[in-house]
């Protein structure tokens, strides 16, 4: 079982999983923000916004994540020169790759977030929005105070699924050199192919430890926060 102690001592596996968690949480926050805006565009009465929102979801959701992440590095950074960190910094390459990965993961998962929220909007009866308009709330306030709070509660379970998928999809960041969990796993496998299955097992268990509580938490939240009608 020396491979387990190596996981902690030689490879800093905990740091790798910490990077996975940071990637996931940061991307989750941005994906939620972008996804909410896209969902609002899709349910807005303005035709142009609807088209933009729908196009975003359909294009981004149907593009492979690997392609999105690689594009962030090769396309945005190397070709177009978009840098997300200070170029004079010693840790520029690591920081920049990490942030580009967050960008790619956020943009990609925002499309799933938008669809989850839109399904939540569909759980809100039309009469709720009519009543809000009837007391004089304009469109955005109707959304903010009446429709979205109920929509988010109706969307908790699907949002939990998106967060679990995001956690696991963050491994794609390794293709642009972010040393998250799966990147460290590849190094360990190269060095210790004799204990291949144990290495796989360690990382699989690591991801289960991250995602299982998310599933349990979101399921219980979706029941507890459900809007009683």
């Amino acid at each position: 079982m020396d491979v387990i102690s190596e996981f902690f001592s030689e490879y800093d596996g905990l740091q790798a999983f910490r990077t996975t968690i940071y990637l996931t949480l940061l991307s989750a926050v941005f994906a939620l923000l972008i996804g909410t805006v896209v969902a609002v565009m899709r349910v807005s009465p303005v035709r142009v916004l609807q088209v933009i929102g729908t196009a975003y979801v359909n294009i981004v959701r149907n593009t492979p994540l690997t392609l999105v992440i690689v594009f962030c590095n090769l396309g945005l950074f190397l070709q177009l020169g978009v840098a997300l960190a200070n170029k004079d910094s010693n840790t520029f390459i690591n920081d920049n790759n990490f942030r580009l990965a967050v960008l790619g993961l956020s943009v990609y998962h925002a499309s799933f977030v938008a669809e989850a929220i839109r399904s939540g909007v569909n759980t809100v009866p039309l009469g709720q929005a009519e009543a809000a308009r009837a007391i004089g709330l304009p469109f955005l306030k109707t959304l903010r105070y009446v429709v979205l709070p109920q929509a988010f509660r109706g969307a908790i379970a699907p949002l939990g699924n998106v967060l679990i998928a995001l956690t696991k999809n963050s491994t794609v960041a390794s293709v642009i050199g972010v040393t998250e969990a799966s990147a460290v796993m590849k190094v360990m496998i190269e060095n210790r192919p004799d204990v291949l299955f144990i290495v796989f097992g360690i990382f699989a268990i690591g991801f289960v430890i991250l995602t299982l509580p998310v599933g349990v938490l979101f399921t219980s939240m979706s029941k507890r926060l459900a809007v009683k009608r």
Binding site: Q128, E130, A131, A132, A134, G136, Q150
Partner: protein, 253 residues
């Protein structure tokens, strides 16, 4: 437009040559109706006669195809902030209550005053509690809509509309979704409101309420206003065949 010009200048609410289609269905046909300040108008008629659509058109929850609707001398704005502002002055009570399910009773009543009228929270709450007391549900202020009976919910919905100090109140079949024993508690509130000279448009099947509280009964059938009269005259001596037929079916039991 010439003969209707007088209508638009007199009424608080004035509908002129209003037409509305749902696809092939012509739901409102050349509706002309003027409602004075303080007047209580009850709209009755068989299902599908367009009376709910008429009610919803007055605050533009249903846009109309042609004609004009004036409120307090101003035409209904078609979109945006101006329309929202107008709706703030028109109270609406729905058949299915439509209380905000995620907010407490008190929050339901204060949402409009705080977010539309920009009143302070304490001022809005004080007024909301007074209104809830007035409609007899003051003790329920901190509960959620799902915890209340239908009759209580509908009275809260009335308080929510009144909190905006509306110029006119629209009631779209307010008692149709209620158990019989709860109908009275809602009608009592409405009769009380009519007594305080609130301008009201009430779509209902409650003939007792029409007799007791209405200044005028408007009878609709097939998208048209077929007859208009004072309640006593309408119920005892309807002029049109269609109204006689309708009344004979509902008043015999």
């Amino acid at each position: 437009m010439s003969d209707s010009g007088t209508l638009t200048t007199t009424g608080l609410v004035a509908l002129t040559d209003v037409n509305k289609h749902f696809g092939d269905l012509h739901v409102l046909k050349d509706i002309n109706l003027s409602i004075d300040q303080g007047e209580v108008v009850v709209v009755i008629g068989p299902s599908g006669s367009g009376k709910s659509t008429l009610c919803r058109a007055i605050n533009r929850l249903e846009p109309i195809d042609s004609g004009s609707i004036m409120l307090d001398g101003q035409p209904l704005p078609s979109e945006g902030k101006a329309l929202a502002k107008l709706r703030a002055d028109v109270g609406m009570v729905f058949q299915s209550f439509n209380l905000f399910a995620h907010k407490t009773i008190l929050q339901n009543v204060t949402l409009g005053p705080t977010k539309v009228r920009r009143q302070g929270k304490s001022e809005a709450e004080q007024k909301a509690r007074a209104l809830l007391d007035r409609v007899g549900v003051g003790a329920q202020a901190d509960k959620y809509p799902a915890q209340l009976s239908g009759g209580q919910q509908q009275r809260v919905a009335i308080a929510r509309a009144l909190a905006m100090d509306p110029k006119v109140m629209l009631f779209d079949e307010p008692t149709s979704a209620l158990d019989p024993e709860m109908i009275k508690e809602v009608l009592d509130v409405m009769v009380d409101l009519a007594g305080q000279s609130m301008t009201m448009v009430v779509v209902t099947h409650e003939m007792g309420f029409a007799r007791r509280a209405a200044n005028r009964v408007v009878f609709m059938a097939d998208g048209q206003i077929v007859e208009e009269a004072e309640p006593e005259k309408f119920f005892t001596d309807p002029q049109t065949k269609r109204a006689q037929d309708f009344l004979s079916k509902i008043l015999t039991h």
